[in-house]
Symmetry: C2
Subunit: 195 residues, 2 copies
């Protein structure tokens, strides 16, 4: 298992010396998931932050009518967790599933706390990661409040061009907050327009 990707991810925001890199990577636990396998199920306590080395994850919750709602996707070089459950160490509502075979690096909550003590720079690292996450989350919220389904879809295509072609449409529909049926109709209407 190579740590190149994750070390490069971290080097974007903080500088680690060799000893620190070694200490950090010693805490990581490699994990692979098969297609459709779950990393986390609702009701469980989230005990790890997951870094995606390859593959693609999907975080979603299930409502009282049994419908799924996609909160986020994670592709290589992204971090993923049920943040609420990770923070509180209480059972969460999120399911995290592999959309394709995945290779992950897991950092346990307890190791993460130790890391903060031993190498305080990691406070900075995760602060920045979470800040960026929050900023884009707020933008998505505003988009959901102000844009039509069609505009949200075009936003999505522009922002995540690589995801559009590799993720089942029903999951994109769910991410956008519409039904697969409506998504299909909207999409074919869009194609007609663009001729």
């Amino acid at each position: 298992m190579s740590f190149d990707l994750i070390l490069h991810n971290i080097a974007k925001h903080i500088q680690l010396n060799d000893a620190e890199q070694a200490r950090f990577t010693s805490m990581l636990q490699a994990r692979t998931l098969k297609r459709k396998q779950y990393l986390l199920q609702e009701g469980e306590v989230c005990r790890h932050s997951a870094f995606v080395v390859s593959g693609c994850l999907r975080g979603f919750s299930v409502d009282k009518n049994g419908y799924e709602h996609v909160l986020n996707f994670a592709t290589p070089d992204w971090w993923m967790a049920d943040l609420y459950s990770l923070i509180t160490q209480k059972p969460g509502v999120l399911n995290i599933e592999a959309l394709e075979p995945c290779s992950l690096l897991l950092l346990s909550k307890s190791d993460q706390e130790i890391l903060y003590q031993e190498i305080p720079k990691f406070e900075r690292f995760f602060r920045i990661i979470v800040e960026n996450s929050l900023a884009s989350n707020q933008q998505r919220l505003l988009d959901n409040l102000s844009l039509s389904a069609e505009e949200r879809y075009q936003n999505f295509c522009a922002r995540y061009p690589s995801l559009v072609d590799c993720i089942p449409q029903k999951h994109i529909a769910s991410y956008l907050g519409i039904t697969p049926e409506f998504f299909s109709k909207m999409r074919s209407a869009l194609l007609k327009k663009q001729l």
Copy 2:
């Protein structure tokens, strides 16, 4: 101006000695806003984090049709900023307006960076603040995807009981993602049900 509230807010997550407290408060700039006055307007670069001592702020954006959409409210003991603009130091889309007379403490972006250098514990503090923010933001996003307007309203009432009675209905409607007219109808239907 008393710093009790903000020091107590910080003490929830990190411990500061007297010198650190003094250094921190020396960076704060008191600011008052009259009702309807703006702290930030879209197109401006957000240069401060604002801590609300008293009063109430509203963060919103304006869409291409001129409709407003409320991203968040901030009441005493809360932090507020246009996070995207604060991080990137590029012009943002958020307007921040006082709903009532406000007393704020401002921490400039540059002082915040100095603070991170001088007292690294503040990295931890803001990491935790932003983490909690992100977790509740994600929950709100899921609520918007999975709940009806009525359920979202009841959630809002349960979570922010103090806001419900002091904020104009049209702003709550906007926060929930519905029109003031529909909000009014929904609300009177709810009252009938509860008899």
